[in-house]
Amino acid sequence: MKVGVLGLQGAVREHVRALGRLGVETRVVKTVSAFDSLDGLILPGGESTTMSLLAQGGLLEELRRLSAAGFPMFGTCAGMILLANEIAGRKEPILGGIDIAVARNASGRQVDSFETVLEVEGIGSDVPAVFIRAPYVTRVGPSVRVLARHQGVAVMARQGKMLVASFHPELTEDLRIHRYFVGMI
């Protein structure tokens, strides 16, 4: 199995490290040609506006084609924004693929960033989670399964082979969420 990590910008090496610790082969993906023979893709945290600008052209089209085809993808924070079907203040999704609506940075500025422990369905009740200028899920479609909530709001969800989290499992030493995604592939 080989899992790609979108490498335009952001927490790329943390995801590569987490997958490596699980014994999964990884490849950093910056161009269309790097998609060959991948089984899944992680869209890391970073700045979603920057990533969408950098992806413009062939890369964006390829990512849209894959997400529409149900290719296994895991988006964390900015990656969740890329995969959301609706983004507050934008007419179009960036890639789309999971039927949720998100508001960017709606959890506040950096002074409001925080860490906590979550109960995640199918994983455990003690999963560490780091939220950094996190996006906020404002709507969850009927075919989306919410796997974790924080103060009542969905922070991790799944639809088919598409997984999203508004926090950063890659910033902790806990590998359970990465293992869960690898198990989905």
């Binding site: 970073g46 600008l53 950096q110 960033s113 910033l171």
Partner: protein
């Protein structure tokens, strides 16, 4: 249980900026140009380093109304500079809810000896360093991100290269040394032993290290990335050039695709005039910004 302002939350934001470009801006309009070009964050300030250098006088934290205006204009993180040691400027910037504070040698130092105790803040700090000892001292004071100092406002990348190479050479020495030599290495570098242990643990600096000071072209940015930095600060290089939007886009592209010389060639075409540069040797010693702080 919800914990704010932890070191993981502070250094975590810097991790999210990796591979990106942070641009100095002095107006809301410039901030929008930077965001539209793909900047991962902007640095709000009163004057860019080249103007501070040219105009002289005491350079201070930006007017809070300027910071607010820039925060309103963009959705990417907004950073702002405080003077070295000026903990009240930092308190004010925290009250304004900036996303990162740069305790910066570009402004006139407020304390001749000491830096801010950054552990007492919820907002994270980035600090400049010319060598590993300086980087480790800043980290021990609570900085969650490091950048090279370079020589700001010169459009001359040579000092940033010097500082990045030096830090990387010194990290290699720390990683290669037998355990019993570490205390003496720390003493020579002026680096706290605990931070050297953290470097050995991580195999690298325990926080993100960006390049700053004198970066003016896409090739400058890509060279700093190939030298092993995690991302780029561009100060005067964008808005002191003849085509800020075009140059900003090109520097962002070159930072992401820093190993793709064909792409760097393409984005470097027809960018117009880069900022006028300054030869470092012509700057009198007392006008150098990199020697501020210790």
């Amino acid at each position: 249980m919800v914990e704010k302002g932890t070191y993981r939350v502070k250094s975590g934001l810097a991790e999210m900026l990796k591979g990106g470009v942070i641009m100095d801006v002095t107006t809301a309009e410039q901030a929008r140009i930077a965001e539209d070009a793909g900047a991962v964050a902007v640095m709000a300030l009163e004057r860019v380093p080249a103007d501070i250098r040219a105009q002289g006088g005491v350079a201070r934290m930006a007017d809070p109304s300027k910071v607010r205006e820039i925060q309103k204009a963009v959705s990417i993180p907004v950073m702002a500079k405080a003077r070295i040691g000026h903990f009240v400027e930092a308190q004010v910037l925290q009250a304004l809810e900036v996303d990162y504070i740069d305790e910066s040698e570009v402004l006139t130092p407020a304390d001749p000896e000491f830096h801010i105790n950054k552990w007492t803040f919820t907002v994270p700090f980035v600090c400049g360093a010319r060598d590993l000892g300086e980087a480790c001292r800043r980290i021990a004071e609570g900085a969650a991100m490091i950048r090279t100092k370079g020589e700001p406002g010169t459009g001359n990348v040579v000092e940033a290269v010097r500082h990045m190479r030096r830090v990387n050479q010194q990290i290699r020495a720390v990683l290669d040394a037998p355990e019993e030599e570490l205390m003496s290495i720390g003493k020579e570098l002026g680096a706290p032993h605990s931070i050297l242990l953290a470097i050995r643990d991580a195999g690298r600096l325990p926080v993100v290290n960006f390049a700053a000071g004198g970066i003016a072209t896409p090739a400058d940015a890509a060279m700093m990335m190939q030298l092993g930095c995690d991302g780029i600060f561009v100060g005067s290089g964008v808005f002191k050039s003849s085509d800020p939007a075009g140059r900003a886009r090109a520097i962002v592209q070159a930072t992401t695709h820093f190993e793709d010389a064909d792409l760097i060639a393409r984005v470097s075409e027809n960018l117009g005039e880069a900022m006028a540069g300054i030869e470092i040797a012509t700057i009198p010693e007392h006008e150098k910004m990199q020697t501020r702080g210790r």
